[in-house]
């Protein structure tokens, strides 16, 4: 198993992090060390989540500033950078979308621009979600608007509207999740080709680049739908007769 291997510059000890516990010094990160190498995990489309998590926690214990109150100002600034980079690397590698985008950028030295066109695979889904979002946004705007007592009552009367929007968003979410699952399945297939020689690995890379665009769209749609579901939850309607009236915003406060 590949693990992080670092050499301490002052005592030459073999370390498993960029901090030498013996010398109490922060080891410089060589140029060109990417997130994968920084964490000591294999550079490929799939990661072993348990291992990533375990490595992250182990290195957090090593780098977190809370562990190094004794360091001088220079070393302290350096360990802050190690810790910040660790959090950055972990956040990127644990999510398929970020990881795949990062890997593609890494392998093309940032030369490949993500395609602006909607990938055909998500075109139908994209339209379904955008239609739903524009309807829900109209409803949310209406809900947010300061209302007189009468308007609030009229809004509350249309209470089934909220449930309808909820269901619409739930359906959108289900469609997105189905496609995300499919994308992950593709990722597994690509990963299997990763170590193959020549043409196959070439093909794997092209498929990965295409997948990066799809994942990016799916991720954005998922985020939008999630955001509206949370906002819908915030819309309060009178539920029980004992409940006091909905929060009316008087006209002159607006």
């Amino acid at each position: 198993m590949e693990t992080l291997q670092v050499k301490c510059q002052s005592c030459n000890r073999q370390l498993s992090s960029f901090f030498c516990q013996e010398c109490r010094t922060v080891v410089p990160v060589p140029r060109g060390v990417d997130y994968f190498r920084y964490l000591g995990i294999p550079q490929r489309p799939l990661v072993d989540h348990d291992r990533l998590e375990a490595t992250y926690l182990r290195l957090s214990q090593e780098y977190h500033p809370d562990r190094h109150p004794d360091l001088d100002a220079v070393q302290r600034a350096a360990i802050l950078q190690r810790s910040a980079l660790l959090n950055q690397a972990y956040a990127c590698l644990k999510e398929p979308k970020q990881r795949v985008q990062y890997l593609v950028a890494l392998l093309t030295q940032g030369e490949r621009n993500p395609s602006r066109a909607i990938p055909p695979a998500v075109a139908t889904l994209f339209r379904q979600v955008q239609t739903a979002l524009s309807e829900v946004d109209g409803y949310l705007r209406e809900a947010e608007r300061p209302k007189s007592a009468l308007e609030a009552a009229a809004f509350a009367l249309g209470r089934t509207a909220r449930d309808d929007h909820r269901n619409t968003l739930r359906r959108c979410h289900a469609s997105i999740h189905a496609q995300q699952d499919e994308a992950v399945a593709q990722l597994v297939a690509i990963d299997a080709l990763w170590d193959q020689p020549g043409e196959q690995s070439e093909e794997a890379f092209h498929r990965l680049a295409a997948l990066a665009d799809t994942l990016s769209y799916l991720d954005r749609l998922e985020g939008q739908v999630h955001d509206r579901r949370v906002k819908l939850q915030m819309v309060t309607l009178p539920l029980r007769p004992s409940a006091s009236p909905a929060p009316f915003s008087p006209m002159d406060r607006a």
Binding site: L57, P65, L80, E151, A152, V230
Partner: protein
């Protein structure tokens, strides 16, 4: 090296604690009190009075006794509006300048006043421990922004303390109750204090406390409930024909104190009597307040905790059922109505096993022990509560570090020039969740100077934004050509020269006046149209339940409003017509509302 104490610098009360041989210890003052009121009294001569003694002086000399100062920490003059009128002491500051308290010709800063509280806590701790104390962990509301965190840190330094870490209050509370806890758990911490509200969702696993999300409101707490009760009492005093008394700060201070006492009493009792003898010459206030009356008064305040809870759960991508517990923290979490809301939101009975007043300080002391190298089995991974971004083309906010990112963290951004031979680039740094830059909180501006003359878009200046473990931002610029790094001094607008501030204020007033008249008409028209739509819906469904005269009154009011809108009348005229319709439709609104409630009950049952 001296020990690290933990300080909960609260809006109403502060607490100091220390970890002694693994046991947490809340440090009492010389009189044995474990809570120190965060109140500072400035006498005409002599040293400031702090704590319980100052709290008692508030009733006598409200104008020189500062409390709830935390509400003004790191805030600009333009942001203090409602808070300034809610307190009984003078508050100054305008535009982008800092908020200050003018007393005896001195402009006291919130940091300076907080430092007095911290000094007292430090001295109490030193006396109790029998050794000098000069290191501390201080807590802040999780939702505090960069300026509020910096101000708290400076207050600690002014009090002669080395601030070893700033930690978030809900996280500290979780740390306090998680001592020695082995099994993995996901918990929510609901922290409603005197002036601030936070909710955090954490995952605790093998000694690692990982915050998943946090949300809150830095201007919401028990103070606001006191103010709601105070307003109620003021109304009663006025109704009883003694409105003139309300101009006396001492009277208002007594009423506020009575309001607070009543609120506390009603957390356990069903009703309480408020008696204030000789509020005026030959006038005693004597009345009974019931819990249900109190609940009616404070509902708008309590209700404001709902959204942050839903947002925090959403950001953590968890449903209430996926949580293992909800921890209640902060004095205001004792209020039955608050507990009921928590129960509904999180679908479980909240955990009330820890002391809601002391948990935060104990957590801070625990963090102190971690920093001392004890507890190497524990580690805290907190998040930044607000998204960090920069202003980009079209006045939009471009997020570079999203909210709820684990700290420490960093992000790099590359900047260039917009015109040929431009020598410097101005960058505006923001915190917040809104799309438009202006709707977010401006952390500061900085200039990247000394750019080599080149055609527009050619220079590349890399800027690195690092958020440290205290949640405080550091900016580093790297010249791509020379590879030289330098720390960029961010000009926080809180300390801009006064001239610049005045100019900014003047400009904005001028521009505002031009637009205002027109905007007012358009807004009134939209409001009127919305109301008309609602009336039509109501009449269509319930018109037959109204009697002839009522129907006529509504119809007449509608015609007037419609004409006012159509004729492009002044905003005031539309407003008047609007209120006529509103008044005429009170009963109709009631009918519609009752129906909505009935349908709601049906849908639920």
């Amino acid at each position: 090296m001296s020990r690290i104490i933990g300080i909960d610098l609260g809006t109403t009360n502060s607490v100091v604690a220390v970890l002694d041989g693994g046991m947490s210890l809340v440090i009492p003052d010389h009189a044995g009190r474990r809570l120190t009121p965060s109140v500072v009294h400035y006498p005409t001569t002599g040293e400031p009075v702090v704590g319980e003694a100052a709290r008692r002086l508030r009733m006598v000399e409200p104008g020189r006794t500062l409390y709830s100062v935390k509400r003004f920490m790191g805030r600009r003059g333009s942001e203090i509006g409602a808070d300034a009128t809610a307190v009984s002491y003078p508050v100054a500051g305008s535009g982008d300048g800092p908020a200050t308290f003018p007393i005896d010709g001195r402009d006291l800063s919130p940091e300076e006043v907080s430092a007095e509280v911290l000094k007292k806590l430090r001295d109490d701790a030193a006396a109790f421990l029998g050794e000098a104390v000069h290191r501390a962990v201080i807590t802040v509301p999780a939702y505090f922004n960069d300026a509020q965190r910096n101000a708290t840190k400076r207050a600690g330094e002014r009090a002669g303390l080395t601030v070893e870490r700033i930690i978030n209050e809900p996280t500290a509370a979780a740390l306090a109750c998680g001592l020695g806890q082995e099994r993995a758990a996901r918990i929510a911490v609901f922290d409603l204090g005197g002036g601030t509200f936070d909710v955090s969702i954490l995952e605790v696993k093998e000694g690692v406390f990982k915050v998943l999300s946090t949300c809150g409101n830095t201007h919401l707490g028990g103070d606001d409930i006191d103010t709601a009760v105070l307003t109620h009492l003021q109304r009663i005093v006025a109704e009883q024909g003694h409105g003139e008394l309300l101009h006396q700060p001492e009277v208002v201070a007594r009423l506020r104190d009575a309001a607070e006492q009543a609120k506390i009493a009603l957390s356990s009792a069903g009703q309480t009597r408020i008696t204030l003898p000789f509020l005026g010459p030959a006038y005693n206030l004597d009345l009974t307040l019931t819990r249900s009356e109190l609940e009616r008064l404070m509902e708008p305040v309590v209700e404001q905790t709902r959204r942050p809870c839903i947002q925090a759960l959403g950001d953590a991508r968890l449903t209430p059922q996926e949580l293992d517990g909800v921890l209640l923290v902060g004095g205001s979490s004792r209020i039955p109505m608050v507990r009921r809301l928590v129960e509904t939101l999180f679908e479980r009975t909240p955990d009330t096993s820890i002391n809601p007043d002391e948990a935060v300080a104990v957590g801070a002391a625990t963090q102190g022990a971690i920093l001392e190298g004890h507890h190497d089995d524990m580690l805290l991974l907190d998040v930044t509560p607000l998204s960090l971004g920069i202003e980009t083309y079209g006045g939009l906010m471009n997020t570079i570090i999203p909210r709820n990112t684990t700290i420490p963290t960093k992000a790099g951004e590359s900047f260039t020039t917009a015109v040929d031979n431009q020598r410097s680039v101005s960058i505006r740094v923001l915190q917040g969740e809104r799309e438009m830059a202006d709707d977010n909180w401006e952390l500061g501006r900085f200039m990247l100077e000394g750019v080599e003359p080149a055609p527009a878009g050619v220079p590349r200046i890399g800027v690195q934004f690092t958020i440290d473990a205290d949640g405080i931002l550091h900016v580093l610029a790297r010249d791509q050509l020379t590879g030289q790094e330098r720390i960029v001094r961010m000009k926080s607008t809180v300390d801009l020269p006064e001239q610049a501030v005045n100019a900014m204020v003047e400009q904005s007033i001028q521009r505002a006046q031009e637009d205002m008249a027109h905007r007012a008409i358009v807004e009134a028209q939209i409001k009127g149209k919305n109301l008309l739509q609602a009336v039509e819906l109501g009449l269509a469904q319930f018109g037959d339940r109204l009697d002839g005269a009522e129907r006529e009154r509504i119809d007449a009011a509608i015609v007037t409003l419609r004409e006012a809108i159509g004729a492009g009348a002044a905003a005031a005229a539309i407003h008047a017509a609007y209120q006529q319709v509103d008044a005429a439709t009170t009963r109709l609104a009631g009918l519609m509302y009752a129906e909505a409630v009935r349908r709601g009950a049906e849908a639920e049952g």
